[in-house]
C-alpha cells in the first residue's frame, strides 16, 4: 500500500500543505493566502495537492496532522500539534545542526530553541503586538505603495537609512507617511523599516537566547532586507533551508503524522 502523510499549517495569513511519503520525501507542497474561513483554506489546499499525487480521495491520505493558528478547524486532521513542535521538527529534519529557529509569520513571531536531537528546549512567542510580525511589514509596504518583495529588494540600495522612532505599526505608519512627505527616498525608508523589524525580532530572540546554527522560517524569511539586518546585528550567518521557508511547519506536521501512524501500527 502506498502511504501519504499530510501536514496542514493554517496560519493567520497563509495556509500551507505538505505531503510526504514513507521515505520522508516531499511529494507535494502548496502555500496559499487564507480564505475567509479555515475550512475553505483547507479545501483549497487539498484541491491543489491531491491531484499532484494522482489521488482524488482524501481517504487515501494515510495520516494527517494539523497545525497553526487555525489547526482546530481542520476536520480531516487525525490530530493537532502546536506550531512550535512542528517548526522544530521540520527544521531539525532539514538541517540537523540547527539549534535556533526564528519563525516570523503573518501575525506572530516565534523563537524556538532545539536540543541536539531536535527536541524542544525552550521557546518565546510574540502574538500580542503586530510590530515584529509579518503584518508590520505588510502595513509598511502598503503605506509605501510597494509589494512585500520590493520592500526587501529596494532596501539593499540604501546608503544611510534613518531610524524609526515608533514601534507600534499604527504609529510607524504615520511616521513613514510623514517621512515620505519630507522627501526621504524609498530605498532608505525601506531599509529603515527592515532594520526596525530585525531589531524587534532580535530583541524577542535575546530573551530566550540564541544558539548557532540559526535558521529563519516563515514568509518574512524571504525578505532579504530583514534577514541581512538580523545577521548584521548578531554578526552570524544564518543557515538556509533547502525548501521554501514557509512550509517548515507543514513539513514538520507531515513528519509527525508519519511517526504517529507508525506508533499506532506498532500498538495494534
Amino acid at each position: 500500500m502506498v502511504t501519504y502523510y499530510l501536514g496542514i499549517d493554517i496560519g493567520s495569513l497563509t495556509g500551507k500543505a505538505v505531503i510526504i511519503d514513507e521515505e520522508e520525501k516531499i511529494l507535494a507542497q502548496k502555500v496559499i493566502y487564507v480564505k475567509k474561513l479555515p475550512i475553505e483554506t483547507v479545501n483549497a489546499l487539498l484541491q491543489d495537492v491531491l491531484p499532484k499525487l494522482g489521488i482524488d480521495d482524501i481517504a487515501k491520505v494515510t495520516h494527517c496532522v494539523g497545525t497553526g493558528y487555525g489547526r482546530r478547524k481542520i476536520p480531516l486532521a487525525n490530530e493537532t500539534i502546536s506550531e512550535i513542535t512542528c517548526h522544530g521538527t521540520g527544521a531539525h529534519h532539514l538541517l540537523p545542526s540547527i539549534r535556533t529557529v526564528i519563525d516570523i509569520g503573518g501575525q506572530d513571531c516565534k523563537v524556538i530553541r532545539l536540543h541536539e536531537n531536535g527536541n524542544l528546549k525552550n521557546f518565546i512567542m510574540n502574538e500580542k503586538c503586530a510590530a515584529g510580525t509579518g503584518r508590520y511589514l505588510e502595513i509598511m509596504a502598503k503605506t509605501m505603495n510597494l509589494t512585500l518583495d520590493e520592500l526587501g529588494t529596494i532596501s539593499l540600495k540604501a546608503k544611510s537609512p534613518p531610524s524609526l522612532a515608533s514601534k507600534c505599526s499604527i504609529y510607524a505608519r504615520l511616521e513613514v507617511s510623514q517621512l515620505i512627505s519630507d522627501g526621504i527616498k524609498m530605498p532608505a525608508l525601506a531599509a529603515a523599516i527592515n532594520k526596525a523589524m530585525a531589531e524587534r525580532v532580535i530583541n524577542l530572540a535575546e530573551k530566550v537566547g540564541l544558539e548557532e546554527d540559526i535558521a529563519v522560517s516563515g514568509g518574512v524569511a524571504k525578505n532579504i532586507g530583514v534577514v541581512t539586518n538580523m545577521e548584521r546585528i548578531l554578526n552570524v550567518k544564518f543557515k538556509q533551508f533547502p525548501v521554501d521557508p514557509q512550509i517548515i511547519g507543514a513539513l514538520g506536521a507531515a513528519l509527525i503524522a508519519r511517526k504517529a501512524y507508525k506508533k499506532k501500527l506498532e500498538k495494534s
Binding site: L37, Q107, K128, C129, A130, Y136, C168, I170, Y171, L174
Partner: protein, 256 residues
Amino acid sequence: MLAAGIDVGSGYCKCIILKDKEIVGKMLYPIEGDPLHISKKALIDALNPLQLKIKQVKNIVSTGRNRKKIPINCEERTELICIAKGVHQFFPSVRTIIDIGAITNKAIKINDTGKVMEYVINDKCASGSGMFLELVAKALEMNISELGKRAISSKNPISITNQCSIFAESEVIYLVNEGKDGGDIAAGVCNSIAGQLYSLLKRVLLEKDVALSGGVANNEQIKQNLEERLNFPIKNFPIDPSYIAAYGAALIANEL
C-alpha cells in the same frame, strides 16, 4: 474680540472661533496626508460663514501633535494645557480627564483652577485609541456613529481578546466571516476600549468629577461601559467632545 484655537492632531484638525468668549464658529476636517494646508483651510472655513478673514482674528493658539506644522502666525500650547482649560471652563468640578486622541490616550489630573497636576500618556501603542475604533469600524463596514448606535443596542457583546489595533482588526474580520452579529462585535470592541481607558485612569489617583474628551467620547457604549467600571457618571459636554482641546486653545488665545 475674536480669538481662535486650532487643534492639529494625528487624525483630525479641529478649529474653534470665539467672540467675547462665546463659540461663534467651528470646523473639523480629517487630516489626509499633509496637516499643513488643512489647518489653514479649517480656520478659513470656520470664519467664512461669519464673513470674517484670518487677519481679523486678534489671537490664535495652536495645539495638538502637529501644532508646529501650520502656516499661520500663532502661539503654541500643549494639548494637556488646552484640554484642561477647555474642560475646566465647562465643568470647574472636574478633577480627572481622559482624553482619547487618534493615536494617543491621556489621563490628566487637574486642580480647582484647571491647572494640570499630573498626567499619564499612552503614546507608544495605538491600542484603545481613535484609530483603533476607526480600523474596527472599517472592518465592520460601519461608520463611527453607526458603530456606536449598533453597539448600544447589542444584548450580547462579544469579547475581543486582542489589544493590538492591527490584531483586533483581524479578529473582527474573522468574527464577521464566522457570521457573528455586527452590533455584538461593535459592543465588544467598545467594551475593550473602555477597559483600556479604565486601566489608564487607574494609573493616576482617580478623583471626581470625571470627564471624557476627544471624538471617541461621542460613543455612548464606551462612555456607559466606563461609567459601569467607575460606578459613577461621567460629565456630558454641551459641545462635541472632539473640540475640547481646540476650545481650550481658543480660550487661551482670548486671554493673550
